[in-house]
């Protein structure tokens, strides 16, 4: 397997404060890779830097072998990285359909309509209420729409930031099933989660980020069994 995304010694600072320090990880084509770690560990900052919303202080980000760390966010999307941000960040005053159209903003091909219908098949509740404002939907439905919107650009790499945040266990399960489904259809996934148990169970590889650094990594099931991980993130002693 080849590395689709390579993050090398990434450091990101807000003013004098370094939120991410020397983080390195690799996402291979076709994998689900998760970054886990406690609140404020720098996971969200890492994703926002990969997608071009923030600039690294030092380090490298390679996508499909090319450096992307100096590109603008809208160009990075065109390269094939979609970012489903923390808190979903839907356009609440626009309809479901308009949100999906924006997800496909950079596409000029004729397959947009078909892809939109695929999202509606995957999440029928969105199809039934496609002309309703996105802000009126429940948290779980909004997360479905946020993932659907991110998929509309047909990304090679989908980055999901806390997709289970604020969702019921059933809805969380539903979202994680969807992530696995997207992987089986060929999308590579980089997942950031506080729900370490669910994330690692799903992942080919996991990285633990602690105080802005990558402290541990390994295949998902191995990390799940690791005592340090269990103690720190799964609430066991």
């Amino acid at each position: 397997m080849t590395a689709l995304l390579e993050v090398q010694n990434l450091t990101v600072a807000y003013g004098a404060i370094e939120a991410v320090r020397d983080v390195s990880f690799t996402v291979d084509e076709g994998q689900i890779v998760s970054l886990i770690g406690s609140n404020g560990a720098g996971k969200t900052t890492t994703l926002r830097t990969i997608s071009g919303l923030l600039r690294p202080k030092s380090g490298k980000i390679l996508f499909a072998g090319e450096s992307i760390d100096s590109l603008e966010a809208h160009v990075i999307l065109q390269r094939g990285i979609a970012h489903c941000p923390e808190g979903r960040r839907l356009f609440g005053r626009m309809t479901v359909e308009e949100n999906l159209q924006l997800g496909a903003y950079v596409r000029r091909d004729t397959g947009v309509e078909a892809d939109m219908n695929r999202v509606y098949e995957l999440f029928p509740v969105l199809g039934e209420r496609r002309h309703n404002k996105a802000g009126l939907f429940s948290g779980g439905e909004q997360q479905m729409l946020a993932i659907g919107r991110a998929m509309m650009s047909r990304p090679r790499l989908l980055m999901l930031d806390e997709p289970s945040m604020g969702l019921s266990p059933i809805m969380t399960q539903r979202i994680f099933d969807t992530i696995r489904e997207l992987q089986s259809q060929g999308t590579t996934i980089l997942l950031v989660e506080q729900n370490a148990l669910a994330a690692l169970a799903l992942s080919d590889h996991g990285y633990v980020i602690d105080l802005g650094r990558t402290s541990l990594d390994g295949p998902g099931h191995e990390l799940l069994a690791d005592e340090r991980v269990r103690a720190a993130y799964l609430g066991e002693n």
């Binding site: 071009g52 966010a73 809208h74 999307l77 356009f91 005053r93 626009m94 159209q101 924006l102 903003y105």
Partner: protein
């Protein structure tokens, strides 16, 4: 009755002009939360551009054929206004995009003053009012109503029609087109719009250009309607248009248009019917604005301040 209708018509004409200018304020505010005080100056410059086009750029044989002269003036005014709006965004506001809110606001006032002085000092005879040709149908339209007649200039009818049709087209464009979606997305959440692949600079500069275009349409219509212009009109109409945008709810296209018409009508009728006469007409406008803002701070059609999750 006839007098009242005549006054109402004047109010609607004034309102139509204000509405066209207010659209530029409201769209730019909606997308970058900047009150572009120099927008009124774009309107003013476009009137001079229309006059200049007529005077120096079209052959004499065309001057008396409004069907040719008017489109030429429009092209001249639109070109100048759009280029001006784009340059303003690029060189005055874009470098300050991430600066504290006050910096671009002060810059806007500076740009406004600068444009006014540049025109006043460089356009021939612009130290006092200059003439703008009529360039439209001369015969007025006379409507008989109970108790008399209402006389409408052809340009009045044109102004009201263009303003309403223009606003409807703009509303459709913003709500249906791909660029319109990008504009709304950038207005609601700029970072997430970028994540959708929307180029923020291109979207913002397009919004300025669109505002400039509408200001130029207003400028040409103002010129052929009133046949005179001086460098102060930008400030005067800018203030009214800004007020219309606030009254209607900044960011709302519908609000800007309805706000414009309300201000035009209140100013005109207030000056006629309320105590104090025309000297007090502006007072009524601002009393109305204050009342609306006290009871509905977001304006008539504005969205309440959003709370972001």
């Amino acid at each position: 009755m006839a007098t009242l209708l005549q006054q109402l018509a004047s109010g609607l004409v004034l309102g139509a002009l204000i509405a066209l200018i207010a659209l530029g304020y409201t769209m730019v505010y909606g997308i970058i939360q900047l009150i572009n005080f120099a927008h009124g100056e774009v309107f003013m410059v476009s009137i001079f551009a229309a006059a200049a086009t007529y005077k120096w750029f079209i052959p004499e044989s065309w001057e008396n054929t409004w069907q040719i002269a008017l489109p030429c003036m429009l092209v001249g005014a639109v070109l100048v206004a759009v280029v001006l709006a784009v340059l303003m965004e690029r060189f005055a506001y874009r470098p300050l995009r991430n600066a504290p809110r006050l910096a671009p606001l002060i810059t806007a006032l500076g740009v406004s003053q600068m444009l006014k002085e540049i025109v006043r000092l460089n356009y021939p005879d612009a130290k006092s009012a200059i003439n703008v040709p009529r360039a439209f149908i001369d015969e007025p339209i006379i409507i008989t109503v109970p108790g008399g007649t209402v006389v409408l200039q052809a340009t009045s009818v044109l102004l009201i029609a263009v303003s309403i049709v223009g606003a409807v087209i703009l509303q459709l464009y913003v709500s249906r087109s791909r660029m319109g979606r990008a504009m709304r997305a950038t207005a609601q959440d700029p970072d997430t719009a970028k994540l959708m692949g929307v180029n923020p600079n291109r979207t913002i500069v397009f919004t300025f250009a669109l505002g400039g275009l509408l200001a130029a349409v207003a400028g040409v219509l103002y010129g052929i309607h009133l046949n005179t212009v001086d460098t102060e009109v930008g400030f005067l109409y800018g203030i009214f248009a800004f007020t219309a945008a606030v009254l209607g709810g900044v960011g709302s296209i519908k609000g800007a248009v309805i706000g414009g018409f309300i201000i035009g009508v209140v100013k005109t009728l207030g000056g006629q019917l309320l105590p104090g006469g025309t000297g007090y007409d502006v007072v009524w406008v601002f009393i109305l604005l204050i009342l609306v803002l006290v009871f509905r701070p977001q304006g008539l059609f504005g969205e309440p301040e959003r709370v972001r999750a």
